[in-house]
Amino acid sequence: MTEQARIDRLAEAVERFVADPRAPHPSHDRELAALLAIARDLRDLPRPEFKARLGADLERRAAMATIAAVTHRGIPSVIPYLAVQPAVELIDFVKRAFGAQELLRTTGSGGGVHAEVRIGDSRVMIGGGGSWSGTPTPTGLHLYVTDADAVYRTALEAGAESLHAPVDQPYGDREASVKDLAGNHWYIATHRSGSHVPVGLGTVTPYLHPHGATALIEFLKQAFGAEEMAVHRGPDDVIVHAKMRVGGSVIEMGEAHGEWMPMPTMFYLYVDDVDTWYRRALAAGGTSQEVPAQQPYGERRAAVRDAFGNQWYMAAPAT
């Protein structure tokens, strides 16, 4: 057989094979069958465009991770601060309901307290009580536990009011919600795939319901170098759920709707350089609430309020 004939015969066989990969091979022609076997494997090779695109994506992520590593060092942690009148009672509640461990409590001359508790791997600050007369900042908190049903029952026994009994959510979490005696909403959840806490989250994550989540995300990025871990939008482009990494911590949010209305929150950020982060938060559109100053207890501290009413305290040990 001439070479031209072999070329044509292969081209015809490939044509048939491309049209129907299950078409029988010409078994009588071993050479042709061998070439077609290679052709079959070639169909499963990766597309070069895909390889290039993924390579570029990884490069971008690697560069982002490098920037993020620097930012994480700048803001090691973001801690929700629950400023409420019944602060002492709230400390007692989180201990009984969620097994919180009290790390610190100071009581002022007017009977007001400042406390820090640990719930699972997360820290929460609680303050108020006594003669304290500030504006309370109860908030929404996403709490991951091994058994949402059991913790929901315990929370009710500890005095919480039920908002929603446990249900299986379409996104794979078993979830319930309660309101404690100070007005905080606790979204008690058990993740159903792998660990009971989704990858990337801690035991407690603040959950905001702002009017204008997109703008809040922008503020977090500009003020604190926050990164989007996940942003899910509904059909009308409204943010249904977003996870933002702020320094070494995560803040969740979803656009305010229905019963989930804004609960402006107070946050305590430990930062490497109070003055720099303070200026940056102002440049991002924040309003000064407290200029950087040494505190009697040994920290340098400043505070900024964002357009959504959240308060961001930035603190570092005094140098």
């Binding site: 070439l35 494997d41 070639l42 895909f50 390889k51 990884l58 490098t66 794979g172």
Partner: protein
């Protein structure tokens, strides 16, 4: 040129240095990606239902590997074995999720037994990369993108006869080189 040996037989020292460099600075991850992409893709493609799923899973494996590179400890186990373990988990997770969503049982786990098949596809990807430019373009267009001879001829500015000849030469070359490797 002789085909390159499978990646895991490359010198331990060179692999180890690359990993340590990438752990210190994740922007160096690209070298590891280039080195192991074909094997991970071949491994995943055998278990995926279609090309889209194979691409999704491959992306998932490398995203995870980049994010968790710090966890890889050098104990003489090839880096590619770590990547394939991530791939195995990613495939299993996906099947479980699909089964849950659709209320159907998980498909049977693909056996790892067919290492030879993954080896062959990895080798083939490498050999295609070493074909002369024209032959390589024809192979990618004809078999990966599944274009017709006429479309390829038009795109390359060649006659249909010339494209058929390139297709023939490319397959012959690949067959000969695969035979060399196996001998």
């Amino acid at each position: 040129m002789e085909p390159q040996a499978p990646t895991e037989t490359l010198g331990d020292d060179s692999e180890r240095r690359l990993i340590e460099a990438a752990q210190a600075d994740s922007r160096r991850f690209g070298v590891l990606y280039e080195r192991h992409f074909d094997r991970v893709y071949a491994f995943v493609a055998r278990r995926a239902r279609d090309r889209t799923e194979a691409e999704d899973l491959t992306a998932e494996v490398f995203h995870h590997a980049l994010a968790h590179l710090g966890r890889f400890e050098w104990r003489g186990v090839p880096f590619v074995a770590w990547l394939l373990q991530i791939a195995r988990n990613a495939v299993a997770d996906r099947w479980q999720r699909l089964a849950r969503e659709r209320g159907t049982p998980s498909p049977e786990r693909a056996e790892d037994g067919d290492v030879a098949d993954v080896d062959r596809r990895t080798m083939l990807a490498d050999l295609v990369g070493r074909l002369p430019g024209d032959q390589q373009r024809v192979v990618l267009q004809r078999f990966v993108a599944q274009r017709s001879i006429r479309e390829i001829a038009h795109e390359l500015g060649r006659t249909e006869g010339a494209v058929k000849q390139l297709q023939f030469r490319a397959l012959e070359t690949l067959r000969a080189r695969l035979r060399d490797v196996h001998d």
